[in-house]
């Protein structure tokens, strides 16, 4: 078998990368000739089963083929040359492929059928691990959302909010320090503490978003307890044409407009890709009033250059910038406990304007995040691969409060953070018939409070130096029993310059973690998997050293330098089965048992200050357990109609004093029905989607644990219609979506603004995507 050079790259990546393959190309033996034959097979990405009636269009010569019962197709008498193919199938996102045809060629194409199933039924990946993913076409469809909302498409991920603009992902009830966010291999070290800082990430430049919960999560530095969200890019193609897409989004709630651009191409020297995005949204509105000062303006850019020295060496450099300016609901800014209590009783928040506005006034946040990254990949042989990554991140965060006017343009919180990271990886695919991944990582963080705020910073200045080493072994071939085991050791050194000199000092922490999983898959309709993890997480700087008023949560936070390392033990069991590929069942159960779980405990007494009384929160430790499960049933009634029901249950308790954990996601029921319509003239992939969400009241909480009792249960529904039009080799996709169709008034327990205002009302979204 002879392999053509350009194709080797995508094939070579498939062996090593942990990503799911989008398509695999094999080239058959060739004889030099003028007209060639293209044949192949189209498979379902999730199940690897053949797809019949898939349409393969060759744009350059307007030839079309349709796959047979077994997914095969054949196109004869093609002149040699460069071709662009579009592969489409009912219910699938169209796939575009670029081919250099110089001889008879056979290709295997995996396309993303049942995209809704990707979240609910395990994916057969080359990593033999339950993975949860948002793929590129879904990222494009959801581009109007922020990073956390996008991640929430993955089963088990919730959104913790402070209003609409500030949102961070929550996984199994954990967020912040306990969820590591990875952007192209670099750990996002922004301000992870508190609910009032959103991650500085632009998901729209990425090709996929994956949640890792098993041994693979040990590949990354950071201090998670086994939940890692990874944004990744595919390697660039060698296509000489310029390909890419333009996206325009409109959202009615907030009168928001957004433009996005991705373009990629290559020349004789290198391949390149550029990304740009701009978004402007004004005040959101509830069914009855505007949420004054909730606008946002964001712009992003990224440039990637990839150089393939030869089939074995590839270098990539990329730079990206994320910049946002966002408003926080004016009425949520309170001075002290009296103000807070008064705000809680308001039907309509203080400072609510009757007019819509794009203005962003204090309280507001301005965040800029630069990322510079270089990577070198050496595929020494099909079974041995080395990768080196260096990354630099520069994070500038400024948060402005309502202050007396001579301070109004001075931030109340101003933090500059610089981090350097080095990552060396080695992957061997024939290690005792298993795949072996080992790596070492170093990271240096310098977190500095700018001295011009006029307010004592909540966190001290600090340096952090982390070094880690890991090893993961997984079954590399399709087997009935699929074991995977990973271990990791981290040494984290901190040097903090606290306001209280008595607390200045250095800390050296050692964390040992291990995760083992075993999957049993005797038939293609049955799979059971269990994972056992033991993970250590040392306290973060904010947990050790916070001291002072945390304006974003209007409380005085006091860290505790004597906090010990958290030790989490986790067990999961997942079971997936189906009846004749019509009824799919999936249950995922998990249990965390965490020694020394660190949490903010409200103190009984209030702190008296000249500004009145403030609630005091102290970081404390206790044994905590969290149990939960996600259950999903998916029914495929016909090729045209399918439904999904899912139920998510979670319960967390702090065992020492036997009280529920605060801020745990309430249980929820989700329902979705999808109708597909046959192609009509040039309208293809016509879909109609109904979704309904019922979120229960968080009843697992004692009466005096919060300022306000948890909000009532609520029901939200949405309708979405999408269609695609093929115009030559270009693809236009249009989506119209209505969220909160009935304009329901509700408050969400995971939104901190629930104390002050209702959540947003009906929202009509229009998205146009031009792919070329």
């Amino acid at each position: 078998m002879q392999v053509v050079k350009p194709i080797l790259k995508s094939f070579g990546m498939s062996l090593f990368s942990k990503f799911l393959l989008f398509f695999i190309l094999f080239f058959s033996e060739s004889v030099a000739q003028k007209s060639v034959m293209l044949s192949g097979r189209v498979l379902d990405e999730a199940t690897q089963k053949p797809l019949k009636d898939a349409i393969i269009r060759i744009h350059e010569i307007k030839k079309t083929a349709i796959t047979d019962e077994d997914g095969y197709f054949k196109i004869n008498d093609l002149p040699t040359g460069h071709y662009h193919l579009t592969v489409s199938h009912l219910g699938c996102a169209n796939k575009m492929i670029h081919l250099d045809l110089f001889k008879d060629t056979q290709i295997f194409i995996s396309i993303n059928h049942h995209s809704e199933l990707l979240q609910t039924v395990y994916i057969k990946s080359n990593k033999k691990e339950t993975k949860y993913q948002v793929n590129k076409s879904k990222i494009d469809d959801l581009s109007a959302l922020n990073f956390a909302e996008m991640a929430a498409q993955i089963q088990g991920v919730q959104v913790l909010r402070q209003g609409t603009n500030v949102a961070k992902p929550m996984i199994d009830g954990f967020y912040g320090h306990r969820v590591t966010l990875v952007n192209q291999g670099l750990i996002l070290n922004g301000q992870q503490w508190g609910a009032d800082h959103a991650p500085e990430l632009d998901a729209n430049s990425a090709d996929k978003l994956t949640l890792l919960k098993g041994a693979s999560s040990l590949m990354y530095l950071g201090n998670s307890i086994g939940n890692v969200l990874v944004l990744e890019n595919e390697p660039l193609s060698n296509d000489r044409h310029i390909h890419g897409q333009w996206i325009y989004n409109f959202v009615s709630n907030g009168n928001g407009h957004q433009g996005l651009m991705n373009m990629a191409s290559s020349n004789a020297i290198f391949s390149w890709k550029v990304h740009g995005g701009y978004k402007k949204i004004g005040d959101r509105n509830t069914p009855n009033y505007f949420l004054t000062n909730t606008g946002q303006e964001e712009w992003n850019g990224a440039i990637t250059i990839q150089k393939d020295w030869n089939p074995k060496h590839r270098s990539t450099i990329n730079y990206s910038i994320f910049s946002t300016s966002l408003g926080v609901l004016r009425g949520s800014h309170v001075g002290n406990l009296t103000d807070l209590k008064e705000a809680l009783t308001r039907d309509v928040p203080f400072f609510t304007n009757n007019d819509f506005s794009y203005d962003i006034a204090a309280p507001r946040q301005e965040v800029t995040h630069h990322t510079w990254r270089t990577e070198h990949l050496w595929s020494a042989s099909p079974n041995h691969q080395f990768k080196a990554i260096y990354g630099l991140q520069y994070n500038i965060r400024k948060e402005f409060d309502v202050r007396r006017s001579n301070f109004s343009n001075r931030p109340s919180l101003s933090i500059d953070q610089v981090s350097h990271m080095m990552d060396l990886q080695y992957i061997q695919n024939d290690f005792l018939k298993h795949q072996l991944q080992i790596g070492v990582q170093s990271q240096f963080i310098d977190n500095y409070n700018s001295a011009n705020t006029g307010i004592n910073p909540l966190l001290p200045n600090y340096f952090q130096f982390s070094n880690g080493i890991y090893g993961i072994v997984s079954a590399s071939k399709e087997k009935v029993w699929q074991p995977q085991i990973g271990i990791r050791y981290d040494a984290n050194y901190y040097n903090a310059y606290s306001l209280d000199p008595a607390q200045n000092g250095t800390k050296l922490q050692h964390n040992f973690s291990a995760i083992a999983s075993l999957a049993y898959e005797p038939k293609d309709w049955f799979r059971v998997q269990s994972t056992i993890s033991s993970i250590m997480r040392n306290p973060s700087i904010s947990e050790w050293y916070s001291f002072g008023l945390h304006q974003g949560v209007s409380g005085i936070e006091e860290g505790n330098p004597n906090l010990k390392t958290e030790w989490a033990r986790k067990m999961t069991i997942s079971l997936a089965t189906n009846i004749q590929k019509k009824w799919f069942f999936d249950v995922h159960g998990y249990s965390y048992w965490i020694d020394n779980f660190i949490y903010l405990q409200p103190q009984d007494s209030f702190r008296l200050t000249i500004r009145g009384a403030f609630p005091v929160f102290q970081y404390q430790q206790a044994l905590a357990i969290i149990n939960g499960f996600d259950a999903t049933i998916h029914a495929k009634f016909s090729d045209y109609i399918s439904s999904t029901w899912s139920y998510h249950f979670l319960r967390g308790d702090q065992l020492q004093s036997n009280v529920p954990l605060i801020g745990m996601p309430p249980n929820r029921l989700q329902f979705q029905t999808k109708f597909l319509f046959p192609d009509f003239k040039f309208w293809t992939n016509n879909q109609l989607l109904f979704k309904a969400n019922y979120v229960f009241r968080q009843n697992h909480l004692n009466a005096n644990q919060d300022f306000m009792t948890p909000p009532d249960a609520y029901f939200l529904s949405s309708i979405e219609f999408q269609t695609q039009v093929l115009i030559k080799k270009n693809n236009l996709k249009a989506i119209i979506k209505v969220d909160n169709v009935f304009d329901a008034t509700y408050r969400d327990y995971l939104n901190r603004l629930r104390y002050f205002a209702n959540d947003i009302g009906r929202n009509v979204m229009v998205s146009l995507q031009w792919k070329f």
């Binding site: 270089t374 309502v402 409070n449 001295a451 006029g454 004592n456 310059y497």
Partner: protein, 189 residues
């Protein structure tokens, strides 16, 4: 050759960033809380009986840390007093007079004087901002019968001065943020 050029380019940019980020920070805290309020002093003067009473509320180390120090005096019954408030930040040297900042932004501030039960004093505003709305740095007190009364003094930043009864000192519809909230037990002899 191309490879060398490329590598030099990559590493030079990398080291540029590295050098830049390594510039020395003074990693000590040099923050001055210029905006902080540590002292509120309320002086009541009764010209008719030549009496001066001072109420103080001082929290020199700001939020948290040591408890505030509260000092107070006794008022004479059935007397008219003129009150004035002085606010300072004593945590820095020289002290910062915040009263001036508030005067400069009179339209964005208002004091409220709240009695626990409403009959010991009759307190009215004795100053106005540029819009003709009360500010409350200066007040006029009609002190009534002897007794003890808990009096809360509140300074609101950006209150809604047009709210119902806000001009006559009713805080309920004022909104805004609390900059100061102190309580004195006032004795009337």
């Amino acid at each position: 050759m191309k490879k060398i050029v490329f590598n030099v380019l990559v590493w030079s940019v990398f080291s540029l960033f590295l050098l830049n980020s390594c510039k020395k920070h003074d990693h000590d805290h040099n923050h001055h809380e210029s905006e902080l309020i540590t002292l509120i002093k309320m002086t009541l003067i009764a010209p008719s009986v030549n009496d001066t009473v001072v109420f103080k509320y001082e929290d020199a180390d700001g939020d948290g840390g040591n408890s505030p120090v509260i000092s107070k005096g006794a008022l004479k019954a059935n007397t008219t007093y003129f009150g004035s408030i002085e606010i300072q930040n004593t945590s820095v040297t020289p002290n910062i007079d915040i009263t001036k900042q508030i005067l400069n932004e009179a339209t964005a501030h208002q004091f409220f004087y709240i009695e626990k039960s409403n009959n010991q004093f009759d307190i009215t505003y004795d100053d106005l901002d540029a819009n003709g709305k009360p500010l409350g740095l200066k007040t006029k007190w009609m002190v009534k019968a002897p007794g003890t009364q808990s009096l809360k003094v509140v300074l609101r930043h950006e209150p809604n001065k047009n709210g119902a009864n806000v001009s006559s000192g009713v805080i309920n519809n004022a909104g805004g943020e609390t900059d100061i909230e102190v309580v004195w037990n006032v004795t009337v002899q």
